[in-house]
Subunit: 253 residues, 2 copies
DNA sequence: GACTTTTAAATGTCAGACAAATGATTTCTG
DNA sequence: CAGAAATCATTTGTCTGACATTTAAAAGTC
């Protein structure tokens, strides 16, 4: 575990990388305690604040956690699925919002991933997952629901579908895609008819999953994909025309 | 953008969160410059090292980048797909290695995601993607290839398949799953016969993608899934029996 | 033996300083 | 006046040293 003081890279970056490499290589096991900041500073021949900046970088990625006190120190963290979820959601959200990913692209990705889960979910879903799906469908049918609440329920429904596959890796991968799409989905205004159609398709999906009929589930999901894309296209067109009007007004001043 | 000095949370964590929230809320746009460290320290009523630790946390997530010099400072980063890739690969790798995800689970997730891409790839793949796939298949048939090189080529092949779908969100999601599985795949020792079979299936996949036949691609992928699972099961069993033998030896001392 | 107090070790925070990089400004030169 | 060179100011990167806070373990007390 060494660093090059003559490198152009910042020392704290190099130190963080060195420790990270040790963790990935398995030289530092989960739960193991790193040397104290003072010892690390001594080892790398840098000051304690520099070591601290390196440790903070690692802490930001949930790679280590710090404890104060007598037997405190920095410990190698067991990266939990939950930590990974939340990191992925943050990353995906920023990625979508900063890179102007089109609604179509995000939507396509989301449903492609969900359709990958559906056959597994049809095979393995527990009564719990089915109950969650049915409950969310019921909620979605309630009048007076805001668009945001409708979207949130939609996410919960699809989350149950994905979790039904019983594969934590898939759940983890999809959490990012689905949750990150919510801001985009929130741009859509759902009419009563839209909701009716969506609830109907959700019902078909739940039925198919209940009957362990993966083909029917895939069919319903593909219809839902097409319908969501249609709604998205309309919403984007409406936004565009509003912008167009506004510029026209501004130009005519 | 405020913090609570009486909170139990560390100040640098609170400051990092406050800035992160501002970025996500869009109060700070991409490319915008944050106040200097001294100004931030003044604003939050903390010392500069504390502000710096907060900024390092954000830099670790590629949310900001720092520049030295007269018109330097911290700038809100446009999170690139590449940054997101590499973060996801690190996270996925650690998740798999630290949580004892079974080979079966990881394998299932990987191929489920790939099968989600295959229809899109069949529709949209460019000659470039096909050429990459063919080249990797050729490489995989070369004698004397190490298991690691074979695995790496396998990853490149599947990467081309995924990229063929022309959906950067899907590519990003899958990069993590596929690359993170490489350490697990490296546990497998491929016999000449194994490789022959895999190359054959890869050929079938490439053919199907070339002919835009998504059904055939799905079929070949499902066979490849089953075959990989079989190989994995064998490899794990072999490992387990080696461990068993070792314990027996140790117990009989 | 159970409870309280002390202590030592570690991280968290602060203050001030200097080094290094870098763009802007000024000065010098032709 | 134009362009090149030198200088300057600003900002991050790093260092030194110190104190505050937390925490577990050791020591002391009843």
């Amino acid at each position: 575990m060494k660093i090059d003081p003559n490198s152009s890279a910042d020392l704290s970056v190099q130190i963080a990388q060195a420790i990270k490499d040790s963790i990935i290589a398995g030289e530092l096991d989960v739960g193991e305690r790193l040397p104290s900041e003072a010892e690390l500073a001594d080892h790398f021949q840098v000051s304690r604040p520099t070591v601290r900046e390196a440790l903070k970088r690692l802490a930001a990625q949930s790679l280590i956690r710090s404890q104060r006190g007598a037997s405190g120190g920095a410990f190698v963290n067991r990266l939990s699925f939950e930590d990974a979820y939340s990191q992925q959601i943050t990353t995906s959200t920023l990625l979508l919002s900063m890179n102007a990913v089109s609604f179509d692209t995000a939507c396509e990705a989301r449903y492609a991933l969900e359709r990958a889960c559906a056959p597994l979910s049809a095979e393995r879903r527990s009564p719990d997952h089915l109950a969650t799906m049915r409950a969310e469908i019921f909620r979605q049918g309630q009048p007076g629901l805001t668009d945001e609440a409708f979207c949130a329920s939609d996410v919960a429904f699809h989350r149950a579908l994905v979790d039904g596959a019983g594969n934590p890796v898939l759940s983890y991968q999809l959490a990012g895609a689905v949750e990150a799409m919510q801001p985009l989905m929130n741009m859509i205004t759902f009419t009563a008819r839209d909701r009716e159609r969506i609830v109907e398709l959700h019902g078909q999906i739940a039925d198919a999953i209940e009957q362990r009929n993966s083909q029917a589930a895939d069919l319903a999901l593909s219809e839902l994909t097409a319908y969501t894309l249609e709604l998205g296209t309309k919403a984007m067109a409406a936004r565009a025309s509003r912008h167009q009007n506004r510029s026209n007004v501004e130009n005519s001043k």
